[in-house]
Amino acid sequence: VIIKYLLVPALVLAVYLSLRSRASLRGQARRKLLAGLTVVVGVVAVIFPSTAQWAADLVGVKRGTDLLLYFLALVLVYLVGSTGVRFREQEARLVRLSRQVALAEAEARMGLGVTPGYGPRVPGRPVEPSGIVAGSVAGSAAPAE
């Protein structure tokens, strides 16, 4: 039957394409085409109910509704895959953003000198042999004096 040779590659293709459809222009265009195609197919199927049956007969499926079901399943697979990828990309972006916020906030506190024992880099101050700059410890407890 022809449908078998159509469905299996289509399924593999749907998974493959969805997993590598990044936020690229090509991925966006592909999703838009898919959405447009779905609308057209839907409208045609509603206005001429016999077209679904005609297409089903063409590929060797018994009923037109079954063909519609296969088609919907493929669309679903593609959407789940691409949504998951987008979700993960978004999450990675969020992680990077909040990391930068955290580092910037710590840097700001160091610059203000409100972190006892830790201070801003003073230009021209000699670097300790260990490589860590001494200084800006005013106000912190210094028992070693």
Partner: protein, 261 residues
């Protein structure tokens, strides 16, 4: 590769932008100085214990960067009181996300040659950490803590078996043979830290980290450490179930990343 593209891929580099000042009391320790080391402590809702743990490190003369992973208790205040540099996530990023932040903070704010990790819940011991610093100074790139090099750490036989199994899975196809999986005590050099990219933010980070740390060409060595399963750490997590997670994570990582390097 051109210099431009190299600079863009390594946005942080190894040059600090701000530096940690030397805590005044650290100068008293002229017997053995730990100025070349910064310790990263990940803190997530550890208010009852974090102050004691961090203060012990600071009093020993170590520089501590505590990554507060959006704690909802008063952990941030406890960290500040203990004398560590606090880096607070605005939202919870998980253990892996916190570790990556810690490494980036260490590279950005310090010139430390060695970067260590330490747990905030008190299950690690200062003497093990100091021993690992002494060991990495002998010219290693990575020093990993291991519970299984000696018999000091007390744990149930079942837990021991599961963790050993995870270590076996992890070692398959890798150059370096490790005896322990997911040990939180690690000591790495600045150069190694600059190359770490953790994409998993949750607990699954550990397999990924271990893969990056034991990359070919690295001089990796293990150091025997004793983990204290205190009542506090037992109350927080379930050690047995957690080791099952570790095993599952390690296997999942192996499956998704292939066996060959």
């Amino acid at each position: 590769m051109s210099a431009v593209s190299k600079a863009s891929t390594q946005a942080l580099g190894t040059e600090p932008q701000l530096r940690l000042a030397l805590p005044a009391h650290a100068q008293a320790h002229d017997a053995e100085s730990w100025d070349d080391t910064v310790v990263i402590v990940r803190v997530f809702n550890e208010a009852p214990v974090v102050r004691r743990v961090v203060a012990e490190l600071v009093e020993a003369g170590l520089h501590v960067i505590a990554v507060d992973d959006a704690s909802t208790d008063n952990s941030p205040e406890e960290i500040d009181a203990a004398g560590a540099l606090r880096v607070s996530h605005p939202i919870n990023l998980g253990a892996g996300g916190a570790l990556q932040t810690g490494y980036e903070a260490a590279l950005r704010f310090t010139e430390a040659k060695y970067i260590g990790c330490f747990d905030a819940d008190g299950q690690h011991q200062l003497k093990d950490l100091l021993g690992m610093i002494r060991l990495i100074r002998q010219g290693y790139d990575v020093v990993m803590g291991s519970r299984f090099l000696d018999q000091k750490t007390e744990m149930s036989p079942l837990r021991r078996i599961i963790l050993r199994m995870a270590a076996k899975v992890m070692n398959r196809g890798s150059g370096t043979q490790l005896t322990d999986a997911h040990n939180g005590l690690r000591m790495i050099t600045r150069e190694v830290a600059a190359g770490i990219r953790l994409s998993h933010s949750g607990m699954a980070y550990a397999s990924e980290l271990e893969e990056q740390l034991t990359a070919p060409g690295r001089r990796v060595v293990e150091y025997p450490v004793e983990i204290l399963y205190t009542d506090y750490s037992r109350g927080k997590g379930q050690p047995l179930l957690n080791s099952v997670n570790i095993l599952a994570d390690t296997i999942a990582h192996r499956v998704s990343h292939g066996r060959s390097r």
